[in-house]
């Protein structure tokens, strides 16, 4: 029995110490670990398989909207990074510089890409001549590097994996539409495939991306009430393209500016999956992106017929395109249960001598531990149904948590009280000034502006901080 409790014993209780719980889950589920290369992560098979499924689903959604993938260099020459002044101001302090190559000092140093706006503009400058060359709807899956001081698995590391989409358009309207389309696509993907409910909207001036005219964000609430920025879409106007001299000739041979967008989602989202859905037994993975959707655990494996019956179920479910595994190892069933729970596998299927006698199997749902006895005749249908149920239940449960942890505040007193005694987000009115934004954050112990939701509600007419006329209702929260 000591063995059976191993995983759970290694995990700090979620409600006792959320940060320690998080680190324990990442470690025990073998999702990633720290590299000897300081500040960088090794994405191990269990963690990377989640990312592969995210890539597969998201990439399919991308391609349905006409996105084409490309791959641009990992390095940016200093002169290229410096072309756009707001952009270089935002990123230069946190890049890594290559100064030697092939045994020689370089004439011009180059940095490892912290993001690739400048590289995309560099390609486009050569490619775009006429209106026939537009739009360009490109994306790349890659890693980027920012020299962060502190590191947390998935949430903050010097190198992280992401996709960065970059598009170029003939009109501002078309570019703005693409920005919003991608914002909506992220929203659909994260809510539907990851079962994570979201708040979303525009970023304030001080929170938007370096060089962008507007940034849209999706923000998820972790189980400790903090926000995780989970995917951003930027509209650049013609700033970058003009700087890079990317112009096109229209049908009448007139020269025009181009309009640009970029948008990205990173491995941070795996942190969100862990912190939204996980519990004291470990990971809980949404069926749609779980590398293994069901684990068969034979009971009394040494008894005649059990392994055969279990293997038969395995084959049937594999043919039905369920991502299925079977645990035939000599560990005890209890240990196998704990391991399957630790890894967040959505369902386990138990089959033993009595089940075989009754032509049934017992299905246990990871999200709420519900046990369902199913007839072997309906196995494939039932497993699919239950996986769909789990996906819905996980979203529903997280949605209830989110909704019950968003409060409204009309005065700074109210806001401070909520900030002190509760966890979650706070809705409050704001005048639009960066000073008020900053002072609200420091007065509440870190409730920064998360986003300006599209759906506005006039909680009051005045800015919660300065009392001047309010411009927006803002969602405020602490964040990762």
């Amino acid at each position: 029995m000591a063995k059976e409790k191993k995983f759970v014993q290694n995990i700090t209780s979620r409600d006792e110490d959320f940060a320690a719980w998080y680190t324990d889950v990442v470690k025990e589920a073998k999702l990633c670990d720290y590299s000897s290369m300081k500040g960088c992560l090794n994405y191990l098979p269990n963690g990377y398989a989640i990312w592969e499924n995210i890539q597969k689903d998201l990439d399919q959604r991308f391609k349905e909207t006409g996105i084409e993938n490309v791959s641009l260099p990992v390095l940016i020459p200093e002169s290229l990074l410096q072309k756009e002044k707001d952009h270089v101001k935002g990123f230069a302090p946190e890049v890594a510089w290559v100064t030697q190559g092939g045994g020689e000092e370089l004439e011009e140093k180059c940095c490892i890409r912290p993001t690739s706006e400048t590289l995309f503009c560099d390609v486009w400058q050569k490619q775009v001549k006429s209106y026939r060359d537009l739009p360009l709807i490109w994306n790349q899956w890659c890693s980027v590097l920012r020299w962060e001081k502190t590191t947390r698995p998935f949430l903050r590391s010097r190198e992280f994996l992401w996709q960065e989409g970059h598009t170029l358009h003939a009109t501002p309207e078309e570019a703005e539409e693409r920005t919003k389309q991608m914002h909506q696509l992220y929203y659909d993907f994260v809510t539907e495939d990851l079962a994570i409910p979201l708040t979303c909207g525009r970023k304030t001036e001080s929170e938007k991306f370096a060089g962008a005219e507007a940034t849209y964000t999706i923000e998820a609430m972790m189980h400790d009430g903090k926000a995780l920025q989970s995917g951003t879409s930027h509209y650049f106007g013609s700033g970058f393209p003009d700087t890079f001299e990317i112009k096109y000739l229209d049908k009448e041979n007139k020269l025009h500016s181009c309009y640009e967008t970029s948008w990205g989602l990173s491995t941070r989202i795996i942190g969100a999956i862990i912190m939204v859905h996980g519990d004291d037994s470990g990971l809980v993975l949404p069926p749609k992106i779980a590398p293994t959707q069901a684990m068969i655990i034979p009971i009394a494996m040494q008894k005649e017929g059990v392994l055969d019956a279990a293997t038969n179920l395995y084959k049937r479910l594999q043919e039905a395109e369920i991502r299925i595994k079977i645990d035939k190892s000599d560990k005890t069933p209890g240990f196998k249960f704990a391991e399957q729970e630790m890894l967040g596998i959505p369902i386990r299927i138990e089959i033993g001598p009595k089940d075989i006698e009754n032509n049934q199997a017992v299905i246990v749902k990871r999200n709420n531990r519900e046990k369902i006895t199913v007839s072997l005749e309906d196995l494939e249908t039932k497993v699919k149904e239950i996986l769909e149920d789990i996906q819905k239940e996980m979203y529903q449960s997280a949605k209830e948590f989110l909704d019950s942890h968003i409060k409204e505040a009309k005065t700074m007193e109210e806001m401070k009280e909520i900030a002190t005694n509760e966890i979650g987000f706070i809705k409050a009115m704001w005048c639009g000034s960066a000073e008020c934004e900053e002072e609200i954050k420091s007065a509440t112990g870190g409730y920064g502006s998360r986003c300006i939701p599209e759906e506005q509600k006039q909680i009051s007419k005045k800015c919660i901080h300065c009392g001047k006329e309010a411009k927006h209702m803002v969602i405020w929260g602490k964040s990762y």
Copy 2:
């Protein structure tokens, strides 16, 4: 008509100047271009889509043999790279060094990975304790960087895309078996999916990978008779694991060495696809990895019913899971034909008023321009059959070229004569000494050892160069 000839006019004839032809095809088909980052490539949508299909097919083959994907850092600390002395000697001269990060000089510089053996050993050192932790069968899809002096699209660039597999085993036998299994897997993938015939075998001592005990290679013959090394598999013995102190306890609690392999295939293979299959009209892509397998070109598009009929074919073929496109642009049919040929799309489907009348469409095969009139009733079946035929014919045609360009030589005179007057590979006996290998290469104007095939034939008993007893029959050739 001027427009219609555009693509072909821009391409140098293949037999006139092979190198110029290659560069022209890469440019006109928009596969990749040079970045402002010197020595690096931009992989554009048309080129990257080929790589995506290669990844998809190869990754599926990997996973069927139990391979798990991971992602390790882009950077290697200097001390880690230096741990294995042969390895660092091989790679240190051609790496790029990061010396500044986050605005400060680094205490220890680090290089952009030229290959990741050291990073994998670094992870394993922490992970492997007992026989239960073995084997580890890992792979990563990433880019690596080597500070090359000269650059050619896909064939040689500072940064290139590849997969690198790294595995760790309890016994040398198991590791050797995995090395050979991956060698065979590459062979199957390249011959079956890319329609490229191969010679293959072991590399000589002087040609093997830095730090490896044995290297196996697949070598393709380009249309100019030169070899392109297309995928290598290395057996390391316990050298690396011992250096990194990776040991495991067996069931009796005894400490043992581990045994390692690595294997890789890169975007160079796209160069092979171009240079094996391409012709004076441009690319010719094997149907299995062609991003677009068939292009529908409506004839007399303005006539009533043509666009509807063409769109109907498009929908039917899309449902049949053919990667299909339709060209509804206002370019002339001739221009569209030339463009489809340039891009190497395996078949085009022409449909015009007469075809509609006769309930038929005309299919033209890219590989040999054969025209086949098919009844619309059999469309899906016929298109699938023709795609399969093309795949086979492309392999067959390349195989005939390969076979007819491998000659045998018994004396240096013979070998020099073949090297001077013909193109292709030469089979000749070799004593095993590095001196003879080097001298054969310089005497023949660059015919280096490509591989020692498993299937040996005793052409003569003596080394072609020194006359001493021959150890191996070697395949010699010029190479990219």
